[in-house]
């Protein structure tokens, strides 16, 4: 991915997330991201077509209620099941993924999105992601968020 595409991806991601969650997003440096003690949750989905690969959104568990509540237009207290929290994170990823792919390869591109899945990331896997150049860091309402875009070559 060249620098123009990279900037396009970041701008698209922030625009879509703000529109979907009504939360303020900004780019961050990886060394601004504090891992802390609480679990990090990853939502990941594959895509195929004019662009093949996968996209993942990774957040701390404590951010999930706010994301879900903002998407649903509810109080965070009203989001009471892990299923709802995980579904909302998957949906945020789903929306972001479609926009990012079209930003990278165009509105006239052909692609298929596959069902996203969630998992709690082991700390070793989180460290690997954070040191991967395909991972970008953001702050969403001042809380850390990682985006990992893996594009298959060839």
């Amino acid at each position: 991915m060249n620098e123009t595409n990279f900037a396009e991806m970041q701008a698209t991601f922030l625009e879509v997330v703000e529109k979907l969650t009504f939360m303020f997003g900004e780019e961050a440096e990886m060394d601004e991201i504090e891992v802390g003690d609480e679990p990090w949750v990853e939502a990941r989905m594959k895509f195929t077509g004019d662009l093949n690969g996968s996209l993942a959104v990774i957040v701390q568990e404590s951010l999930q209620p706010e994301i879900a509540a903002n998407i649903l237009g509810l109080d965070a207290d009203g989001i009471d099941t892990k299923e709802m929290l995980d579904d909302a994170l998957r949906e945020m990823l789903n929306v972001v993924c479609g926009h990012v792919i079209m930003a990278l390869v165009g509105q006239d591109s052909n692609f298929d999105l596959f069902a996203p899945s969630n998992e709690v990331l082991p700390s070793e896997a989180l460290q690997v992601l954070m040191s991967d150049s395909a991972t970008t860091a953001y702050l969403l309402d001042d809380e850390p968020l990682l985006l990992h875009l893996q594009i298959e070559q060839g």
Partner: protein, 129 residues
Amino acid sequence: MAFNILLVDDSMTVRAVIKKALTLAGVDVGNIYEAENGAVALEVLDKEWVDLVFADISMPVMDGEQFVTKLNESGAIQELPVVIVSSAGSEPRIARLKSLGVRDYIQKPFTPEQIREVVDSVMGVASHE
């Protein structure tokens, strides 16, 4: 006139957001039915009277394109307005879906106003045919 509406999406979040948007937009809603994929949606349509369908594209078991194809093959799509709500709507795909009879397309994320405009447009056209 109250519309019976079928929401077809594997995400409960999206189904909840569309329901809320319909309310905020002031759409006169009768019954709302929900289906997590196209196959379940076809079962609902066999049993219930539905005026309008909002359907996603990417779903397990039977996706939105397969669902619309089934409605096209049965001829049902001529009487039943289907609106696609998705983030996977590239121009070629939307053109293909419209050729199968889909009335309109809403890109996620959407606003209640966009939902209102589409309901007005789609149901207005349908009621004058």
